[in-house]
Symmetry: C2
Subunit: 454 residues, 2 copies
């Protein structure tokens, strides 16, 4: 009851009584820009919104309406904390497509999107100060979870074949030397958000060998695995090790993100902790949305729907890469995703994606600056381009506008070379094609958040 | 990476790497009993499930089906972390029924049930070791949240008029003397779960005066406020103080718990923290369920539906109290709720509700033992009876069975007086009619959890 004087008495009279974790939370500096981005004249390559209008909305609507009319006693009622048993069975069928054939419904916990799954896993394992290893760059929503848990994030660099195993081992050695408690590796092996790259088959083996050697727990986050353009789904890390890998899945990209249905597959002892944690957090996931997904998988041609999504995203990826190839000034490089939603673009030397952003929005094109995907302020020269939502013609127009903005920055840059004008600045130090060296451990995570970064 | 040897290597190879908060989580000793409880021959007075089949299911089904068919681009897509703006407007209309007329939609955060609201508030305010004041008994789901946050809970006793203001002040004085950091008072002022009592009007004033005097933050959890049997809704604590009260609301009891739509009303600075916290936890609440609630409030006769629920629950409350009056052996006492779902029953001296439970289930009646509602192991002589779900005839039969079980325990008790047979035991110390003295601060919270305790 003996509180010190509030720091900002007029702004927030409760500022002196927040938890320690809360002081690290800050509103995004660029959130204001995102309201501008939603204007129709702006081509947004920023958001990661799936193309849900490609679903058979009438059929899905009838299906869900009947679930309520005919099964209201179940779909409108509380359910179990672990999630609907029928849905957990169907989730096992879905995971089998990526080689996970030994999963039991009893090992599955249904979550409010895989975001909640990651939050629960982090809550169960991570104490403040613990280290989490994550790719650099890494999913911004994961960095938010780690920040809320007061974890320290150590980035492990990637290249076009995904996470670099040697760098992972190096990071583990450094942590061991420093006496850091590494709780797990967080990885998005397929069609990485934001990097757009996929962990190759030999590297999957190498990563799991290292995990075994260093007794490392691996959190495999796999929302995009079924969205490959040119091949069968890769075999999941979880298919190689059922004790050392906790798997996060989602229906957000294969069906609907607005239902918020994801899941965790974990060994039984961990599953038990996750159920207790989710009961404390939400009691149980929504019943209606779970029944909707289970019924969708039972009665609708969901595999064909995924193929339809894949065709649509492939076309948009093609439009993106062709436009980049045709229009980007020399010195600009980017990844070439063969699945998923994202291209990771590196600006010519000296440009800064965040400083450039207001000009881009003025030119009616939006992207996400790379620094949001690092916990340590790195990534200034990068941006994420999402091709999942806009139509191909919009994408081409968006890339055209973006190319012009970059060219204008380069012109300015050559005029005022070396002078920080506030719209660009020199980026120092050596840079690898799609990543950086092993960064130091930092915490809390970078505070930039976006309303629309899935 | 240098972990000690696992404690239970065969049971859980990861046991050595959980977070500190996780070690306090334990599976319920009586969860197994709850699967027995769901058998049709058992009358369950245990669960807090609302009577959702009293809803117009066809109309609600058509309404939700049309939302998906006609507005799939919104209802199946990601939404904002704070929640749908239209729903937040309608939530302000709902709160006005309890005297909160100054709330702005910008101060509302939509949550996955009010459970998530409480979890977010706790996450934003509570560090491990902080003290939370809560009624004794208190909602078991809240105790789970506080345990997960590693808070210490100090119970404040109640009587038939709710929380006792003098006891609250006493608790604050004790905490001040001990140098404890009290983060907030958590209270369910209306038709308390599990106690069934309501905070009287003079006490509302007294509690807020104490809050003012001691600079105390109050979390007002109000899922049942519109379910009063005999009067207009009471004026909310939040209606008396918009800076010192954070209000939690829910549609689980007035519409549907399976949609998991609740909300937090908080001052803007706190709201901002809550939005960041919920984005890290679930990105955004489900869109479909939010649109469903907003459309329901826009197009369906929801006030009349609440009246219908109230009539139904009143009838069940009457059946409960009449049966208790007619059948319970001398020495048994109980509260007389005039709203909500619950009766709090005290057994004759010497009986223990948890030890008696297997006999009750054998006799095909179920209840929730009182100890689940205390963080400190108190409440052995109490049980919660829920009348919300069973039909009046089932309730009468359930109470009849329960009375027989209690009588049998009393017979056994008089035969083996003072001997602990394992089915009953003496409860020592003085007891007040519906509460206990100010308990010591304890932590972690009692580990008994129930799948079905709302």
């Amino acid at each position: 009851m003996h509180h010190p004087a509030p720091r900002h008495p007029r702004l927030d009279p409760l500022a002196d009584r927040y938890a320690a974790r809360t002081h690290g939370m800050k509103a995004s500096e660029i959130r204001a820009l995102f309201s501008v981005v939603s204007r129709p004249e702006v081509v947004s390559l920023a958001g990661g919104m799936p193309a849900v209008t490609a679903l058979p909305l009438d059929a899905v609507g009838s299906m869900i309406g009947e679930l309520v009319s005919g099964m209201g006693a179940q779909t409108l009622q509380y359910g179990s904390g672990q999630g609907d048993p029928r849905l957990r069975e169907r989730i096992c069928d879905v995971m089998a497509l990526e080689g996970i054939t030994d999963a039991s419904p009893s090992e599955v916990v249904v979550t409010v999107g895989s975001q909640q799954g990651l939050d629960l896993v982090t809550r169960v394992f991570v104490d403040p100060g613990d280290v989490v290893l994550a790719e650099g760059p890494s999913y911004v929503g994961a960095l938010g979870v780690f920040q809320a848990a007061e974890a320290r994030v150590k980035h492990v660099p990637m290249d076009d074949d995904g996470l670099i195993p040697e760098a992972l081992e190096q990071a583990l050695i450094e942590c061991r030397a420093a006496g850091d408690r590494v709780k797990f590796l967080y990885t998005v092996p397929n069609y990485h958000n934001p990097a757009g790259v996929t962990l190759s088959e030999p590297r999957r083996q190498a990563v799991m060998e290292i995990a075994d050697r260093y007794d490392l727990l691996v959190i495999e986050d796999n929302p995009y695995g079924l969205l490959g353009f040119d091949r069968e789904p890769m075999r999941a890390l979880r298919a190689r090790d059922d004790r050392r890998v906790i798997y996060l899945g989602s229906f957000s990209k294969t069906f609907s993100p607005g239902l918020r249905v994801g899941w965790v597959l974990a060994p039984l002892a961990v599953r038990e902790k996750l159920v207790l944690a989710t009961e404390a957090q939400v009691l149980c996931p929504p019943s209606l949305t779970q029944y909707a997904v289970a019924r969708y998988l039972d009665t609708q041609p969901w595999r064909e729907q995924i193929k339809h999504f894949v065709e649509l995203y492939r076309e948009r990826r093609d439009a993106t890469l062709e436009s980049l190839e045709a229009l980007m000034p020399a010195g600009t490089t980017w990844t070439r995703p063969d699945g998923g939603f994202y291209v990771w673009l590196k600006l010519p030397h000296g440009l800064d994606a965040k400083l450039m952003q207001p000009r881009a929005v003025n030119a009616h094109v939006a992207y996400v600056p790379g620094i949001g995907f690092y916990a340590d302020g790195a990534g200034q020269e990068y941006m994420r381009l999402s091709y999942c939502y806009p139509e191909p013609d919009q994408i081409r127009e968006g890339v055209r506008r973006l190319a012009r903005v970059i060219e204008a920055e380069l012109d300015l840059h050559s005029t005022f070379d070396g002078v920080d004008t506030g719209t660009f600045r020199a980026v120092s130090g050596p840079q690898s094609p799609t990543g950086r060296g092993v960064e130091g451990i930092v915490g809390p995570a970078n505070s930039d958040r976006y309303e629309d970064l899935r």
